[in-house]
Structures are given as structure tokens and as C-alpha cells.
Amino acid sequence: MSNLGYARVREHYLTEATIGRVGVAIGLAAFVVALPPFRANAVWVPVFVGLLAIAVGIWVLSRGMRRPGWTAIGFGIVGIGLGVLATRASTGNLDQVVVWSALLSATLVWATPLTFAAIGGMFSERSGVVNIGLEGMMLAGAFFAALGADKFGHWWMGLVSAGLAGAAFAAVHAFMAIQLRADQIVSGTAINFLALGVTGYFFIDIYGENGTPGDMPRIPDVDIGFLGSVFGHLNLMIWVSFLLLIIAHVTLFRTPIGLRIRSVGEHPRAADTVGISVYATRYAAVILSGALAALGGAYLSIGYLGSFSENMTAGRGFIALAAVIFGNWRPFGAFGAALLFGGSTALSFRLAQPWGNASVLFQALPYVLTLIAVTGVIGRAIPPAAVGRPYVKQ
């Protein structure tokens, strides 16, 4: 990459895809101009900006790039719709819902558990093992983090217990999927049920009706005053998730380890031939995915809420799975999807005031978007070639 000429750089960075991304940004702007602090009152403003985005999308389409083109057009249409709605809404409601700092920090809060689990799931799927059990591993992490933090008296002991518990559940899944060549969906479903049962059983057995104690050690916030109201008081785990994102990207695409993981997931026979241990790589990737998903769960219990309740992940593991797919099995893609999905959760809670119950529909947004993503209307999500297929040594 380093010795690329100017022409190659131009080819790589000023592509139709990039221009499509600009179109997406303009589409978003169509909505944003109608919100505080801009507050465009006239309907034509968002419509104009949105049409601009659609025009960019059509141009990109005409150059033969389906995915960025349709994405920009989609964002343009949605931007116009939301923007027009926002110009019609009363300013009082808008100011109440659209508090950017609050919305952004809530987005980060809800995105962080998804980021951990999605990056974990990405490693597992990149190595060729489907991990439907993310939900269960996350739940196990949430419970054992609370248990560890409470019994050992340190939040970091909570994190350690969560990681170990997640790794243990993942090891069961790995053993089933890799060694016994069991159906990975069955095994993952079993992990989800097992985690639900085990955490519920021991939660009731240990804490009973009273729930986890209120004075449980919690993962601290990091106070960096000069970064402002949003980034100045983020939880440690949010910063760790940023770090994890970069490490995951570098590991996956810039190191021999990442190459091994990807080759095992794309073509295990070829990887085996050149001396990469398919089993060991897959074991490592799956166990890592469990530990990461569990850390995501730990953030929920001892980071954000400070308590554990039965089935508290409530489908977030599946949203993480959706983020893996929506993000096209890439760390930054998964992170972007996690932000989007976390944002829809945050918006759903904020909209509860003016919209009432209808705001829960925002909770369904991640699933609907993923359905659209896998249908390939806006570019197709392509999984690793050997995902879900057990490997037999010869």
C-alpha cells in the first residue's frame, strides 16, 4: 500500500464509492438541517438537500456502482421524509428529543455492548464458525461480571470472570462445531438456552428475590474534562471498545494472524495445505468471540446499569449478529452498524416522550435493515465462503 503512485491513490480514494458516501452524507444532512441547532422551517430546504443526495446517487448508479448509488438514493429519500416531518413537528418536541449531546452519548452507551459482541462474532464468522450463541455468551458475561465484581469486590475481577465465562460457553460451542462437526446453528441455539438457564438458575439461587446488591463495584467512567460533555465522561469500556475496534481491524487485515483467520474461513483446505491448523485457528477465534461478547454483556451489567436481571440482554446478541452481517464482516463496518443500531435504540428511548409507544418500532429497525441488507437490494452482504461448514482433516 505504501508505494502506490498518485494515480493509484486517486483510483482508490476518489472512486464512485467515495462519492456515493458523500451522497449518503448529503442525504443525512437533509434531515439534520431541519433539526436544532439549524432548524430549517421551510419544507423546501430538506427536500432540496435530499434531492441533491438522490442526484449524486443516480450519478453513481449510472457509473455502474449499484451499492453506493442505491445507498445514497435511499438516504436521500429517508432524509427528505424525516426532514419534512421534522419541519412540521413543534419546536418544543424537537428540542426535547434532539439534544445532540445526550443522543450521542446514549448512542455510544447502547452501541458499546453491540460493538464488543459484533467484533467477537466477526472473528468467529471470519474463521468459518457461525456464532448464533452471541446472545447467550453476552448474557453469561453480564451475569458472571456481576457475580465476580460482587464476590471479589473489584470491577476488574468482574471483567475477568465475565471473559472466562464467555470463553467457557464459547469453548462448548467450539467443541461442538469444530470437533464434533455438529450443526452450528443447533449448537449456538443450545448455548443461548444454556446461558439463559444457567444465569437464571444461579441468579435466583444466589441473589433470590432481592437481586444483585446496589453497592456492587462498577466499571468507572473516565473523566477527561477538556473533551466536553459527551466524550469527557465516557465509561472506560466505551474507550476500550474504540481501542478494540482498531486492534481488530489491524489484526484481521494487517497481520499474519488475521490472514490465517480469514484463510481458514474462506478456504480451509487450502489453509490446511500450507500448514495452518484449521482447528486451532477456529478454536481460538470462537473462544475469543465468546470472551468479547461476554465483555459486552459485562458492560451492560456492571458498566451501565450496575445490576443484573434475568435475560437482561434481551436480544442484543442478535442485534450484534445483525451488525456483523450489516457491517459486511468487517470491524469498521460492524462498528458502524453497531452505532446505527445503538442510535436507533437511543432514539427509541428519547422518542418515548412525544411519540409514546410507537417509538418501540425503532427497536425493530436493526432487524429490518439487516433483512434489507441480506436481500441485496442495496449491495449484497457476502459472508466468508466456508462459514457454517465443519472441516475434516485428511
Binding site: S187, V368, A385
Partner: protein, 427 residues
């Protein structure tokens, strides 16, 4: 950019290199006697559940006995000299067991059978798709959609006569489930989207959709008390008739006949029709089926629609039979559709197997419920989670068939040298 390279096509011509084929595994189940493996699976799962119970300071034997009695299965152990009424007449005839639901055992048994009905259907929903080579994880969503349509039709059209109203509600609920399932089949057939992903997503769309519809000021919230997030009650005319027990106390309803009939229909479709032949052919080997002139895509859609039909029917029957209304909480805590996965896999995706597995899980769910389990012996909150663990272990052991295969082969190997030595000695 190296990571953007298109993935190489999967290795072809060497299917055994990846995993034992479906056919090979099916053959193994047959060889092991068909019933032995599921039986061992269940026994192991209960055994390990018992270890957890024992490790946390309870007596596993007493707990399982309490669950057995909570499920009402001890009813069968009490023989005597009783009567049952003949339907449509004033006569009654002699019967071996006491059918009066005044006794706890009989009452618990009605509850077990009540739970067994939807489990049969959601089990079939998973099993049917499985026979077509599809993994339908969306039984829960299809069940919910069926229940939502069931409660909608049941609570509207109040003036309709009993039979047409029930029929309309059941048919529409089943069709709604079929539609929900067919979406996944359609996406698989047209764009190749993996059905596991799409059905998971559809489950959650149904979950949040239901939470919206019956929530506060939702379109289907009840008209009497706007503070309760629950639907209107269905009309009396839309309720299924009680066949055993007191209708005021959640009696066993006639829906169980639909469940049993569905088992029969499942068997007939799969084994005695062209449709079933095609479905199974696609399930064994889609490429071979395509080569043989079968439209694989069409079978994906049809199989998912039929699967959804079973699950939607389950949702409709639960509403018309005993729930009579649907609330946000019901939508969010229900997991009948997910248990269907365990039912189907334990029942080896056959009609008879699903029937027995549904009864087992129906008994387990009822036996561990707050209503039936004796809290003196074992707290029901723990028991509910124990039931989940047992379910998970069943799934794990079903997946571990290869382990059993290894053990089976190892045992044969061990026996063979032994037999040879014995023969030498005899000589």
C-alpha cells in the same frame, strides 16, 4: 486491497471432506434403532440437570418427582373404576382412570396437554423445514404473527356464529404464519439469503411489532382500560370449546385435535405426496434434486410456508383455546416457538418423534411452572431455569450425535478383538 478480493468458490466434488452428509447421519439414526438416541439424549439431559440441582443443595430425585407430579403424569398411575361421558349423549361408560379435574393430577395433566398442543405445531414447523434442508429458527415469529392475527380476528366480527368465527380466525392465523415463513423461503429462493439470518430477523420484527400493536395507544390495544398494554378479549363465539376440565380454570380445549391432526398431515404430506417427495429430495441434496428436474427454489418457499402454517396455527390455537387475549408481556416472554426447535430435533424431525418430544417438553414446562410445582420441594423460579437448561442440553446432545457415533464405533471395535480372542480360545 487484499481483503476486497472475491472469495474463492467452495471446494466441490468432495462433500464428505466437510461433514458427514445428511443422508449418512439419517442412516445412523436408523441404525441406532431410531428411538435409542433420542431416549439417551433426554436421559443424559435430565441427568445433568439433576447434577446441577444436586450441586445447589436440593435432592434431584425429589425435584424430578415433584416435576413429574406437577406435569400430572402420575395421573396415569392411579387405576380404578370410573366413568366417562359419551359425547353427544347422556350415557357414560366405564373407564380405567378418574377424569374428574377436581384432583390435582388430572388438572395438571390437562395443563400439560394444553402446552403440548402448540409445542407439537411449532415442533412440526421446525421439522418440516428441516426435511427440506432448511433451518427454520423463525417458529417464534411465525407463532407470534399467528397469535396476533388470531386475537385480531377473534376480537372483531363479534356477531359471527361460533363455527365460522373460529374457522376464520384459525385459517387467517395459520395463513399469516405461512406468509411470515414464506418471506424467508422467498428470500432464500430468489437472492439466496440464508434462512437462519432472515428468520431470526423476522422473529424480532414480530416481537417488536407485537409490542407496538398491543402497547399503550397501540392500534390493537384494548378499548376498556388504556393503562393496560393488552388486547381486547376475543368474543365468546370465537373461543374453542373445552373438552376436559372446567372452562373457567383454563380447561383443555379442542385445539389438541388440530395438533394431533397436524402430526398426521405432516406424515402424509412428507411420505405420501409428490410435494413431500420433492421436499425431501431437496433436503437430501438440492443439487441432485435440481438435476432431477425439481424446482429447488419453489420447494424452499413451499416448505417455509408450510412450516409457518404450523407455527401460525399454534399461535391462533393458543389465543382461541386458553389465552383469549394477547398483551405486550405475552409477546415478550413467550418462547414456545424456540422450544419447538428442541422438540423437532429430539423428535428427529418425524411425526411420531415430534409428538412424543412435545409431550415431554409440555410436561417439563407444566411441571416446572409456578402453578403446578410444589414450592415446598423446589422453588418454581429455579425450576423454570432448570427446564431451560434441560432443553439446552437436549439440543447440545442432539448436536453431539457424532460423539455417540464415535462411541458406538469404538465399542464395536473393542468388542471385535474381544470376540476374536474368544473364538481363538474356543478353537
Amino acid at each position: 486491497l487484499s481483503e476486497a478480493a472475491t472469495p474463492p468458490p467452495p471446494v466441490e466434488g468432495d462433500p464428505e471432506a466437510y461433514a458427514p452428509s445428511v443422508a449418512k447421519r439419517m442412516a445412523f439414526y436408523q441404525r441406532a434403532g431410531g428411538i435409542v438416541t433420542p431416549f439417551l439424549t433426554a436421559v443424559f439431559a435430565f441427568l445433568m440437570g439433576g447434577i446441577v440441582v444436586g450441586a445447589t443443595g436440593h435432592n434431584p430425585l425429589r425435584v424430578y418427582k415433584a416435576i413429574f407430579e406437577g406435569a400430572g403424569l402420575n395421573w396415569f398411575l392411579h387405576f380404578g373404576n370410573y366413568h366417562i361421558d359419551l359425547p353427544f349423549t347422556n350415557h357414560h361408560i366405564w373407564f380405567w382412570w378418574d377424569t374428574s379435574t377436581n384432583h390435582t393430577a388430572a388438572y395438571n395433566l390437562t395443563q400439560t396437554l394444553l402446552t403440548t398442543t402448540p409445542l407439537i405445531l411449532t415442533g412440526l414447523a421446525v421439522a418440516f423445514a428441516f426435511r427440506c434442508g432448511l433451518f427454520n429458527i423463525g417458529g417464534q415469529g411465525q407463532y407470534l404473527v399467528g397469535a396476533i392475527v388470531g386475537v385480531f380476528v377473534g376480537s372483531r366480527f363479534v356477531d359471527m356464529a361460533h363455527i365460522p368465527h373460529v374457522a376464520l380466525a384459525i385459517v387467517l392465523a395459520a395463513l399469516a404464519g405461512a406468509l411470515w415463513g414464506a418471506i424467508a423461503g422467498f428470500l432464500k429462493a430468489t437472492v439466496g439469503a440464508h434462512e437462519v439470518i432472515t428468520t431470526i430477523m423476522l422473529n424480532w420484527v414480530a416481537y417488536w411489532g407485537g409490542s407496538y400493536l398491543f402497547g399503550r395507544d397501540g392500534p390493537l390495544q384494548n378499548h376498556t382500560d388504556k393503562s393496560i398494554p393488552i388486547s381486547d378479549d376475543i368474543a365468546d363465539g370465537a373461543k374453542l370449546s373445552a373438552i376436559w376440565g372446567n372452562a373457567q380454570l383454563q380447561a383443555l380445549h379442542s385445539g389438541i385435535f388440530f395438533g394431533l391432526a397436524a402430526l398426521f398431515v405432516f406424515y402424509i404430506i412428507l411420505n405420501r405426496t409428490t410435494l413431500g417427495y420433492e421436499v425431501r429430495a431437496v433436503g437430501f441434496n438440492p443439487e441432485a434434486a435440481r438435476y432431477g428436474g425439481i424446482s429447488v427454489g419453489r420447494n424452499f418457499i413451499v416448505a417455509m410456508a408450510i412450516s409457518g402454517l404450523f407455527a401460525g396455527l399454534a399461535g391462533g390455537l393458543d389465543i382461541l383455546g386458553w389465552q383469549f387475549r394477547l398483551g405486550v408481556l405475552d409477546v415478550q416472554v413467550s418462547n414456545i416457538g424456540f422450544i419447538g426447535i428442541a422438540v423437532a430435533l429430539l423428535g428427529r424431525n418425524t411425526a411420531v418423534g415430534v409428538g412424543f418430544a412435545a409431550l415431554l417438553f409440555g410436561g417439563l414446562l407444566t411441571g416446572t411452572s409456578t402453578r403446578s410445582l410444589d414450592p415446598e420441594i423446589f422453588p418454581p423460579q429455579l425450576a423454570g431455569n432448570l427446564a431451560l437448561m434441560i432443553q439446552a442440553l437436549v439440543l447440545l446432545f442432539v448436536g453431539a450425535d457424532l460423539l455417540i457415533l464415535y462411541i458406538w464405533q469404538a465399542r464395536r471395535k473393542m468388542r471385535l478383538p474381544g470376540a476374536a480372542k474368544a473364538a481363538e480360545k474356543a478353537a
